[in-house]
């Protein structure tokens, strides 16, 4: 069983058969699942009883007054109140994909009502999800410091450029394989009407859909004194507590100029590094 299939943009609907399962389980609950560094999936169920209870506690017109939202909370360490934002959504949607800007953090969601006076009525709360950072760690240990300069090269040797490409060529071969399996098997499942379909001529069946996609992004990283003031292309950069920083850029064709400037806290000293990156993409146009 191969396992590196390509996500297929044209295939995004569930098989109708799933409707054979119950729509509700009769309990108010919500769950949050991690998808990748910036996306989560939430599903929920809110029973009529829970809605009545909310009306009893907060007023019969609470559902008219309040906006239906998902409140996405960053779960802060300790007791500090974390940041949050609201996604307007109909409660009847029952599931949603939640996008967050900051990867590598912990989140939980509440489905509820945002009231005009700023109050929030929570109907159900999810578990907490820890999202992966999706980049090289800022944490370095003492032993590491001696070889920091080579990490860049080590990343190249480790195949960093293949990350997130579904293991690159592997996925491509597998996708072809699955394409073949689909032509061979799916029309001919032992279950369902598909097995009644007439077989097609082998030539047609075996058409290869060959494809290639590739793109790249740019990750800039560095370190300085933790209290220094750093800008990249004139924009202020927030440093990590240990003075490291990293930024991720889209990388279009052309020249990207990234002047990096650090000024010491007492403004008596500064350092500048200028990085120019050129990208040129050519395709064979097929």
């Amino acid at each position: 069983m191969t396992s590196s299939g390509k996500i297929n943009k044209g295939n995004n609907a569930p098989e109708a058969e799933h409707k054979a399962l119950p729509e509700n389980y009769g309990t108010t609950e919500a769950s949050l699942l991690p998808r990748d560094p910036n996306w989560m999936f939430i599903y929920w169920e809110i029973t009529e009883n829970s809605k009545k209870e909310a009306c009893r506690l907060h007023g019969a017109d609470i559902f008219q007054k309040g906006r239906q939202v998902i409140r996405v909370r960053e779960v802060a360490e300790g007791d500090a109140a974390g940041k949050y934002f609201d996604i307007p959504v109909m409660h009847d949607a029952k599931s949603w994909y939640v996008n967050v800007q900051e990867s590598g953090r912990a989140y939980c969601c509440e489905v509820g009502l945002a009231l005009p006076d700023g109050a929030f009525v929570s109907l159900v709360r999810t578990n907490t999800v820890n999202l992966p950072a999706g980049r090289v760690s800022d944490v370095t240990d003492e032993k590491w410091m001696a070889v920091t300069a080579d990490f860049d090269k080590l990343l190249q040797l480790s195949g960093v450029e293949y990350i997130g490409k579904g293991s690159g060529e592997v996925a491509k071969s597998l996708a072809q394989r699955w394409e073949m399996l689909r032509t061979v098997f799916s029309r001919a499942s032992s279950w369902g009407v598909s097995s009644m379909a007439a077989p097609q001529a082998p030539q047609k069946q075996a058409e290869k859909k060959f494809w290639l996609v590739a793109d790249c992004e740019l990750i800039l990283y560095g370190a300085t004194e933790p209290d220094a003031f750093v800008t990249v292309s004139g924009r202020k950069v927030n440093l990590n507590p240990d003075g490291t920083f990293s930024m991720r850029f889209a990388l279009p064709d052309g020249i990207v100029d990234l002047p990096i400037k650090a000024v010491s806290k007492d403004e008596t000293d500064s350092r500048e590094i200028d990085i120019k990156v050129t990208r040129a993409t050519t395709t064979d146009g097929k």
Binding site: S4, E45, L155, Y162, L174
Partner: protein, 540 residues
């Protein structure tokens, strides 16, 4: 001279198929996935191990044989059906040698006859229908390290309950013990999907290592000193080995990858379509629809139409596989020399592949592996092949790093198993797990029919957890079959759950489900209890 090598190569093959077994049908199409993989990958690999051992060529390989695959290999019904499958192929191959005695296809026809005769010989005379005994033999010799996988290839990062994670690992380890006579030292986490912290449940089963996609290691914290070229220890002390992309690319690159060579066998020209209908009909499924039957007479040839493909030449293709193995080894030698110089220590290059890609997808892939083992053994001194266990006993000191959540799927995280085609499953799956935990906690000491019903509930839950269903929905292959399977297991679980909670278990209903879904004959439903999971997490 001892210690002359500059580094290590660890070859890891992941062998897995979902549990597909339909006693309610005389003839079931999807069962062919297993039979094809038996003929093209699993038995040919055993053949290679047999030959290398007979010749005195030492080799090292690590293979996951997942619990669903173990259960299929051990199942009497599937063994019998496999016998029927290869016997029909052999019968056709023998007819074909006669039919082609004056054609340019004689050599390839003879190749299939030899191949299926050898399959029969190995299956019947060597292993008496039990290929697991074959794999165990090479494990006991120390040449093959068999590792396990989650009980049903469950996708752990999308499980909310730790009881479910524990159950997947514990059931797998117990099943492994019954087949191989000792506990598993390593595990292949399904889809290389790792969720930080799950390693404590591996440790509880005595599992010492697992594998990660490249970024699982290099996005770990703190930064890994040696990238993917040395394992790291999770805080629990379980080791994680990272995948080397360069060797993965070497095999599968579209530009320079080996399987696309024009002399290799063409996958898309199959006798199931090429032969006279009446002649081939006895070898098709009962519905009589033409499909691939796994016998193919042409080579890739080049960029030509399928009807212009040239006859396959087995000797020429085998030579090519030898040459590609030489190329692969040469590149590993250079890579390892370079890494050794750069890192200042012996690197371990971990080359991970789906086992079924060798033989099934790339027909000559098994020959390639055989040549690679031979060349590494006889022709060089730079590389030493090791299993992860051997590496860890040679180099027990490794950096402690918390690896990142990651998978080997498209885009590197969970999206393949969580998107618009399959996200509807999780609501139901999580509900089943919650109810299963409730049952296990409520009945700490069941017996009789209640115990049987609870055990069957556990089987249904784990069958529904198989990552294959979500995967097949995403790629759109067998989407209908995988949806039906998930729905069927959900219904069976819910039916039993309601009967148990209503204290009205119907023996006929239960017996029918037991007959259909007989995976894990020795399952103990208490594996889902909260107390067990907590005990495992606490290291007791």
């Amino acid at each position: 001279m001892a210690n002359k090598e500059k580094g290590y190569l660890s070859l890891v093959l992941h062998a897995h198929l979902p549990f597909i077994r339909h006693p309610e049908y005389e003839d079931f199409l999807e069962e062919d996935w297993f039979f094809e993989a038996m003929c093209e990958t699993y038995i040919p690999l055993l053949d290679v191990y047999e030959r290398l051992t007979a010749e005195g060529t030492d080799f090292r390989v690590t293979m996951s044989i997942t619990p669903p695959l173990c259960n299929m290999m051990a199942d009497p019904l599937l063994r019998e059906r496999f016998r029927r499958y290869y016997s029909l192929r052999l019968e056709l191959a023998e007819k074909e040698v006669v039919r082609n005695r004056n054609t340019q296809f004689l050599e390839v026809a003879k190749m299939y006859e030899t191949k299926f005769r050898r399959i029969r010989e190995l299956y019947e005379d060597y292993y008496h229908g039990n290929v697991l005994a074959g794999f165990k033999k090479f494990q006991d010799m120390g040449k093959l390290e068999i590792i396990t996988c989650g009980a049903t290839h469950g996708f752990l990062p999308l499980e909310l309950r730790k009881e479910a994670v524990h159950a997947q690992i514990k059931l797998a380890a117990d099943d492994y013990r019954t087949h191989f006579g000792r506990g598993p030292r390593g595990i292949w986490l399904a889809e290389c999907a790792y969720n930080p912290g799950d390693d404590v449940y591996l440790k509880a089963q005595g599992i010492r290592y697992f594998f990660l996609e490249t970024h699982g290691i290099i996005y770990g914290s703190p930064r890994p000193r040696y990238g993917v070229y040395a394992p790291v220890y999770c805080p629990s002390g379980v080791a994680a080995f990272g995948r080397d992309m360069e060797s993965a690319q070497q095999v599968w690159s579209a530009e320079t990858g080996y399987p696309g060579d024009s002399r290799y066998r063409e996958f898309y020209r199959d006798l199931g379509y090429d032969l006279e209908y009446d002649y081939v009909k006895p070898y098709l499924h009962q519905d009589g629809v033409r499909r691939n039957i796994g016998m193919k007479y042409c080579k890739i040839t080049g960029r030509v139409q399928l009807n212009e493909k040239a006859p396959y030449n087995p000797a020429e293709a085998r030579e090519m596989a030898a040459s590609h193995a030489g190329n692969f080894m040469f590149n590993r030698e250079r890579q390892i020399e370079h890494l050794n110089h750069f890192l200042g220590k012996k690197p371990v290059v971990v080359s991970m592949y789906d086992a079924e890609l060798y033989g099934h997808w790339w027909y000559e892939g098994v020959d390639f592996l055989e040549f690679l083992f031979k060349k590494v053994h006889h022709d060089q001194k730079t590389i030493k092949m090791v299993t992860p266990s051997e590496y860890l006993s040679l180099h027990p000191d490794n950096q402690v790093v918390q690896p990142s959540m990651s998978t080997w799927g498209d885009k590197g995280y969970n999206e393949v198993w969580l998107n618009g085609t399959n996200d509807w499953m999780y609501r139901h799956l999580h509900k089943q797990v919650e109810r299963m935990v409730e049952l296990a906690n409520k009945f700490p000491t069941a017996d009789g029919i209640l115990k049987r019903a609870l055990n069957q509930c556990a089987r249904e839950v784990v069958l529904g957890m198989s990552s294959d269903w979500a995967f097949l929905m995403t790629v759109g292959t067998a989407k209908s079959y995988s949806t039906k399977r998930f729905v069927a297991h959900t219904h069976r679980f819910t039916g039993l759950y309601e009967q148990i909670m209503g204290n009205r278990i119907e023996e006929g209903y239960l017996g029918d489900i037991e007959w259909r879904d007989n995976i894990f004959p020795a399952v103990d439903y208490r594996v889902f209890s909260t107390a067990e999971a907590e005990k495992a997490a606490a290291g007791k």
